[in-house]
Subunit: 356 residues, 2 copies
Amino acid sequence: MVTFLNASDVAKIVRRVGPRRFWERLVEGLRDDFLRWDRFDKCARFASHSPGGVIELMPVSDGEVFAFKFVNGHPGNTQLCLQTVVAFGALADVATGYPVFMSDMTLATAFRTAATSVLAARHLARPGSRTMALIGLGAQSEFQAWAFHEVLGIDRLRIFDVDEEAADKFVSNVAGFGLGITRCDNARHAAHRADIVTTITADKKRATILSEDMIAPGTHINAVGGDCPGKTELSRALLLRSDIYVEYAPQTRLEGELQQLPADHPATELHELLAGRKPGRASKDAITLFDSVGFAVEDFSALRLLRDLARETGVGAGLELTAAPANPKDLFSLLHPLETGQARGDALPEPMKLSD
Amino acid sequence: MVTFLNASDVAKIVRRVGPRRFWERLVEGLRDDFLRWDRFDKCARFASHSPGGVIELMPVSDGEVFAFKFVNGHPGNTQLCLQTVVAFGALADVATGYPVFMSDMTLATAFRTAATSVLAARHLARPGSRTMALIGLGAQSEFQAWAFHEVLGIDRLRIFDVDEEAADKFVSNVAGFGLGITRCDNARHAAHRADIVTTITADKKRATILSEDMIAPGTHINAVGGDCPGKTELSRALLLRSDIYVEYAPQTRLEGELQQLPADHPATELHELLAGRKPGRASKDAITLFDSVGFAVEDFSALRLLRDLARETGVGAGLELTAAPANPKDLFSLLHPLETGQARGDALPEPMKLSD
């Protein structure tokens, strides 16, 4: 039996634990996992592309626990009244290969993406940052606002989306957070005087949501939307003006804003920054950029935290995900009522051959 | 909601449909999928190796349905009273990326492996074959005997395992099938005068279960146990004497008996044989060898059949595998009772910050 959490269970756990404690544990868990970066068996995700989108499997192991996530990305889904991204994931015990935990990860993906953004910003944004621009108010936008508010103390937002309904939804959803919110007419207006600029738009194309002239010296850019080949949000000139931080360079060079730059353009990996092996913000006028694409280690952290919290809170259900015969060498025993059925002719349209 | 089948559900479906019809539909489904081989987006499986074994993710898509299987292989598990292999898998809709079906695949892996063996033997074994040697009587052995009996009319078995208890278990499990069974003292004795020789031993090493002098002209060998790097069952001389058939050459050269031979040694892919593009048995004295390692297309066939049969029989349960907010752009709405909880201070150890 594995423990299974559906999305309602995940939401229940966040409520039980309390949002701030949940976000802090997630950020700390991510930090701990990034700090033991060399323990992880890393590889680029497996991606199956089709005209409508992509389905990915993201596996990772630290030698004790194996994790994987199934996740899609289908921009046209909203027209079918479906989500652009849904996900689920599982943990398995490396020593035995047995799966031990499974969960919806649609929520967890939004959680870990925002928590990783916060982890990077904590080391890159100017101290005392309080204002964040949020450009793109889709399904993950509230999670970014929430995490930056709870963990980093961001209390003023400048928001923009081409879709007014998305902005209405966002404002309504975060109404209880006590944030000062300015609705802006365009991305330039939103980015104006923001300490941190988060881009999280959905179009699967080469877009220019932010250009160099929109960004003041000293800004930290949290670029979340550009996360697969052919999907970017920033101008090339802005990239060249910025000090770039990434999760895992080989993957980001394919999937992130970095795909616009030559393969040898400098980029610091987040684990190097966290371990103090590479410098963070160089000056108060530097423009820092976290080019986020999402990496399997983050799903690992999120799944492990959910597993721990499921135990601590007692939330979740048992799921018989794989067969469990009484004698492990006797898988066939699971079929055993077969003979009874056969003898009675129960639902057996053709009798089995009984040759000698 | 996806439809979920646990192992008991899978067994129930086999009973409801009737074993022969189940096996025949599985073999026909496999044949159909091998015949549209070029439609599949094939790639080698992802494997995470550790001292105790391996965990694999096997993805495949035909452009309409995406399938993947999680499967392990841990030879030491039996000492912990666990199974060597457990598996589960899922189907997703390529157009939307949504998962639609999930099932235990511990049973399905045994089913599809045996059905693929039958499919190959139907085209390679001498017509009128009735006797099969079965060497290695572990968890999958009954499935081989069952499939060959139901679909191919094999009615005499010559069996051997180094473990007497495994042999006892096997004999007891297949007692109702009406097979004539000869228990043999060793592999040589079992292979003697068999039309088909199936090897399905478990040791993760270079073993020689069968050597050239044990195999009579005209035999078809169904070599199932050698299925990962460093794990083989046949002597090199026997391979050189045989006409070799495989599922997918790039994978079999790494994982199958073929790993013993040079990279350019001839091997016919099963789909070429089934489509009539490559010849089958050359003469009554030829030794044919199906070097089976298991391929993702087979899991695809098995999962799709289980999905169809779940619909037809009404077996299975709904599982909320991924989040489903009422408004697909409003993932955050799933957290909504949050504010209520907050207002009541319910299980929120620290109040959220309410700065302006």
